[in-house]
Assembly symmetry: C2
Homo-oligomer: 114 residues x 2
């Protein structure tokens, strides 16, 4: 997944999800791809960036218009199964944070102020 090409002016919301895969990743890649595609279709979805390294440690940050959009996505039936499998099978541990983006900058722009 690439960085989103453009995002609106803050405020908007970020879901910061960091996770360590367990030893059992059966079905994980397919589900991650499917959920990524499904998220992108949701109202209020703004973009996402994701990395997982060779040790199975990953960070995904998805961006949303508001908290209502995040809650709707969290409660979607198709997403609930993925969440359940994540908790019971795929992740050794994870942390999820919901944050309100207040300022955003892009670079390189040598004289920018952040």
């Amino acid at each position: 997944m690439s960085p989103p090409p453009s995002l609106p002016t803050p405020p908007y919301y970020a879901v910061i999800f960091s996770s360590q895969e367990s030893g059992d990743t059966r079905g994980y890649r397919e589900m991650a791809k499917k959920m990524s595609e499904l998220a992108a279709e949701q109202p209020g979805y703004l973009g996402a960036e994701a990395i997982r390294d060779s040790r199975g440690y990953g960070i995904t940050v998805s961006y949303w218009q508001d908290e209502a959009a995040i809650r709707a996505w969290k409660g979607m039936a198709a997403h609930l199964l993925a969440q359940k499998l994540g908790k019971t099978r795929w992740y050794r541990h994870y942390t999820l944070r919901v944050a309100r983006v207040e300022r955003a900058y892009r670079g390189p722009e040598p004289d920018e102020d952040g």
Copy 2:
């Protein structure tokens, strides 16, 4: 860098930094390590998680007590050189977002609500 072992109850702040390395990464690893260590010594620093993949794409999220702590770290003399080299040499592009963390969850905890 591993996920921080514990963090205070929200609210606190996150700096979400995503970047694509340029072809010129001379001195980058050493500086990244040094800055990571220096950040950890700053007042208001709570923790960080970072990943860079084999294509040179990275996400670092650092956590801070408040915006004043972020601004102080941004303005530190030893950090300014690193920022300048990042902009002029190491990064093809980057995005930096400052966000206020409002809710946080850990898992696996099958019955948790997020």
